[in-house]
């Protein structure tokens, strides 16, 4: 069974003070998240990531489309027994202590007093807040709030954990700890669906990713598949300056020159021509390494091409 099933999910908000007009925050999103995978949800600010997560938790209602969690419609109390959610920039009741907050939330699940205390203690320990249990949340730093937010999200040992920008505002140590927590959740067989725009976290953690741009899904798949499409080689050569024009012709990106060496990226289909050129012109091949484009490149290009497409289509409709 798929963990999360989203089909044609669309959300319009009404904007404007006097003359209300619809603004589409999410446009026909369809995707599936398998059980046990860590799924990254990428996009710029305002791309529709938080909107999607709020739709999955029933905090807002879709204009069109459906979303199911473990085969059941979202928003049902039964669904929430298997779902944990960390909101973006979480804020909790600041008059409570960390311990009281977890106790309060534990009351909403069918836990007896003994289990409640045990889970509370485990969670405080898990997120490293057991020595701050009696401190009011109003005195917590942003990183500590993020940690208590994760603790409340996994308090009831859910199968699926939704995290909205879990690394936001954390220092490097804090980010490392949250990463470790996500790895641990995956090891426990949980499905983790998290939104972020920190690409290094996605590369380090995710089995699959989806990329949103202005409310539309522009890419989805395994990282290895997405990045393989952009593979090639990076060559470093030494040659006479007269060769530079031909090298630039063979390269897929502008050639850089440093210390008399030319560094260039070559697509796989141009490799025979490149090697032949090296042989005939006496070019000294210093190194030849396969390149794997970073997620950052992929993300930037996808976003760029999606924006260009939008401009073209809006230009066409204007004509």
């Amino acid at each position: 069974m798929t963990a999360i099933q989203i089909s044609g999910l669309t959300k319009d908000y009404q904007i404007g003070f006097w003359r209300k007009r619809p603004w589409r925050a999410l446009d026909g999103l369809s995707l599936e998240v398998e059980r046990g995978e860590v799924f990254g949800f990428l996009g710029h600010n305002g791309a529709g990531k938080t909107t999607t997560l709020k739709l999955l938790t029933g905090l807002i209602f879709p204009t069109a489309g459906t979303a199911k969690v473990l085969g059941k419609p979202v928003g049902q109390p039964e669904t929430f027994r298997h779902l944990g959610y960390l909101p973006e920039n979480p804020y909790f009741y600041d008059y409570l202590t960390a311990q009281e907050l977890l106790d309060y939330f534990a009351h909403f699940f069918q836990m007896d007093a003994g289990l409640r205390v045990r889970r509370r203690e485990e969670m405080l320990k898990l997120v490293g807040l057991d020595s701050f249990r009696d401190m009011p949340l109003r005195k917590f730093s942003k990183g500590m709030l993020q940690r208590i937010g994760i603790a409340q999200a996994v308090l009831h040992d859910p199968e699926i954990v939704l995290l909205d920008e879990p690394m936001s505002g954390l220092d490097p140590m804090g980010r490392r700890e949250v990463r470790d927590l996500i790895v641990q959740m995956k090891a426990e067989g949980k499905t983790v669906f998290f939104s972020t725009h920190i690409l290094s976290d996605v590369e380090a953690l995710c089995d699959r990713v989806a990329i949103l741009n202005r409310g539309k899904l522009v890419g989805v798949g395994r990282l290895s598949e997405l990045l393989r499409q952009r593979s090639g080689v990076e060559a470093v050569v030494e040659c006479a300056s007269s060769c530079s024009a031909e090298l630039q012709h063979l390269a897929s990106k502008p050639v850089t020159v440093s210390g008399g060496q030319y560094r260039l990226e070559i697509q796989e289909e141009n490799m025979p021509r490149f090697l032949a050129f090296c042989q005939t012109e006496g070019v000294r091949l210093v190194s030849l390494n396969p390149i794997r484009a970073s997620l950052e490149d992929y993300f930037t290009e996808l976003s760029q091409s999606a924006s260009d497409g939008e401009h073209v289509s809006s230009g066409v409709s204007a004509l």
Binding site: I60, R81, Y85, L86, P87, Y95, H107, F108, Q152, A153
Partner: protein
């Protein structure tokens, strides 16, 4: 019906009020009330008890009203504004359970407030007379009516809090309270006029706005007069019905609200 989520929200709402130090104003109130009993005993010979009962009941009502409006207007708005609701509503709790818990939590707060204020009031009364009289028992009915009134105000605040800002909610609630306190006069005005549309309008307003005028029994109680049992029954039923309608309306509004 699973009452546990409602109970959890109720207790947390009460805990929030206690930690907001709202209840601490009561100590000051009790001290002022008891001190005023000494003062009034000295300056109003013969009617000091009537003045004390009127003053005491009015103070309990006004302080309770202020606390009900002050806390009530923020009941839902603050949770949405500060986004504390996001984590809560992603737990197995339905929105109507959250609203009901909030409503009951504020009512518990007001009840505890009123108990403290009433204790101060009875202490002042005893200090003045050095004894309690048989007709003093009707003071309990007046206090019960104040509690009903506060419960109704809480329901109004909750309703407005579901879709309006705190300032507007406070203004709307306060206006309704003022209009409702004169509802008997509005109906009387309609009966005096010869204009049929005006009469129909005043009757409509009379039935629409909450009738707070029937809750005010401080004056007869101060004079030792009994409060009819039918009025107690009718006021109780009226409060239950009116507050239930407002709660259901609040739940209807809130159940489809986007928490942006």
């Amino acid at each position: 019906m699973n009452s546990s989520p409602v109970l959890a929200v109720t207790l947390n709402t009460f805990r929030e009020a206690v930690r907001d130090r709202i209840l601490y104003n009561l100590v000051a109130f009790a001290v002022i009330l008891i001190a005023s009993a000494v003062l009034f005993g000295q300056i109003s010979i013969g009617i000091e008890k009537i003045i004390l009962i009127n003053l005491g009941l009015s103070s309990i009502s006004v302080f309770g009203l202020l606390i009900a409006i002050f806390l009530g207007i923020n009941l839902v708005f603050k949770e949405i504004d500060k986004r504390s609701l996001y984590a809560l509503l992603s737990k197995p709790v339905r929105r109507w359970q959250f609203l009901l818990g909030k409503f009951l939590g504020l009512n518990v707060t007001l009840l505890v407030n009123t108990i403290f204020m009433t204790a101060g009031f009875w202490a002042a009364l005893y200090y003045l007379n050095r004894k309690f009289e048989r007709q003093d028992q009707f003071i309990w009915v007046a206090i019960y009516f104040i509690l009903l009134e506060l419960s109704l105000v809480t329901a109004i605040c909750l309703f407005f809090s579901c879709f309006s800002t705190p300032v507007l909610s406070a203004v709307f609630t306060f206006l309704l309270y003022i209009i409702g306190s004169f509802s008997a006069d509005i109906r009387g005005f309609g009966e005096l006029t010869h204009s049929a549309p005006l009469k129909a309008l005043s009757t409509f307003v009379y039935y629409l706005v909450p009738n707070f005028s029937d809750f005010s029994v401080a004056a007869p109680v101060a004079h030792g007069k009994a409060v009819p049992g039918t009025l107690v029954l009718l006021n109780t039923i009226y409060t239950l019905c009116y507050a239930s309608v407002l709660l259901v309306a609040s739940m209807a509004v809130f159940s489809r609200k986007d928490l942006k």
